[in-house]
């Protein structure tokens, strides 16, 4: 709902200016959440929200059902994900926060993130399609400085062979 542009007459200019400001805030989305450095403990009204920022922790607190609950923004969001095909010309099937995937050599790929991570200890979950009815895995290449803030190099293997997967998927989460 938006506030109509009432033509207020016969009121002091301060009142008119105040309600112009109120109208700007409501009609143009200029409302600011309260920003706290300690977790809220006060009794609020259901639906109240506050932002929390302390160190690297960022949370959105919301008061529902007579209690405060929080979403940990740096820990509970999928930061990047990709499904890609490594056979023939490598191609991204779908992705979020991935700028490119490069085939370095057979079974060797580098993913480049769009927005970098804040540290290199982010978590990744990954799977590939089996190859020729034989078990296959995708894993992080054990090379220096991998994963990096802005990229991750991965290898794809199956028993007895290095392969290019027809389908591979990776999702990551961590602080950005």
């Amino acid at each position: 709902m938006k506030i109509d542009d009432y033509d207020l007459k016969g009121i002091p200019k301060e009142v008119e200016d105040f309600f112009d400001s109120v109208k700007t805030i409501f009609n143009y989305g200029k409302y600011s959440h309260s920003l706290v450095v300690l977790a809220p403990t006060w009794q609020a009204k259901d639906g109240e929200t506050v932002l929390f920022k302390s160190g690297s922790a960022e949370r959105l607190y919301f008061f529902l059902n007579s209690g405060w609950t929080a979403i940990e923004i740096n820990s509970q969001l999928i930061r990047s994900w990709i499904s890609f095909s490594g056979t023939g010309t490598v191609s991204i099937l779908d992705s979020n926060n991935v700028t490119s995937v490069t085939r370095n050599s057979l079974g060797d790929f580098t993913l480049t993130w769009d927005v970098d991570f804040a540290n290199v200890s982010y978590a990744g979950a990954m799977m590939v399609k089996d190859s020729g009815n034989r078990e296959a895995v995708i894993g992080i290449t054990d090379t220096a400085n991998n994963p990096a803030l802005g990229s991750m190099q991965v290898w794809v293997r199956r028993a007895g062979a290095v392969i290019d997967p027809s389908y591979a998927s990776i999702l990551t989460t961590g602080a950005q």
């Binding site: 301060e14 259901d46 529902l64 509970q76 978590a123």
Partner: protein, 180 residues
Amino acid sequence: MKLDDYEFKGVPEELTDLKDDILTIINYGKYSHQVVTSAPTWTGRNGESVFYLAGGVTRWYYYVNNTWRNMEFSTSLVSSWITWSGTGAGAILDSFNVSSVTDRGVGDFEIVWDTDFKNGNYACGGGCKIASTGTAQGVMILDTAGNPATGTLRVRVRDLQINFDAADPTRMSVVATGDQ
């Protein structure tokens, strides 16, 4: 944007009180979203948002591009994750909602969640570092009774390329999501 504290003069007291209430709501972040118990179906204005709470399900609905969309807190977010090392004494490198990880033998680890899941049907996935060109390690859910449990997840690491041998990689990760 914050409101200036205008000094109203020559107006009814109720108007000054109304001004004070509005100023408190806006300047101190006291605006409360509407809370509904059934999904919104009305035509909103783009940018409108409401909280939904029914039967233990919590969602945040927002109206964008003439459509109500929502994020469900118990199912749309990552519930827990961990990155840890299996070499030497082992160590948690970073994590969320994990209280500990125990080394139960080569390639055998038990993760203990901080807040339990509501049931053992949560989704999880993982990965690890592949040590060299001649190996192919992967993280798997251990096939033992009651695993995954609401409070723990036991995983094993095996090498597909070397006789499915157990391995302790330098780096492993698991991500899990589900009702808590």
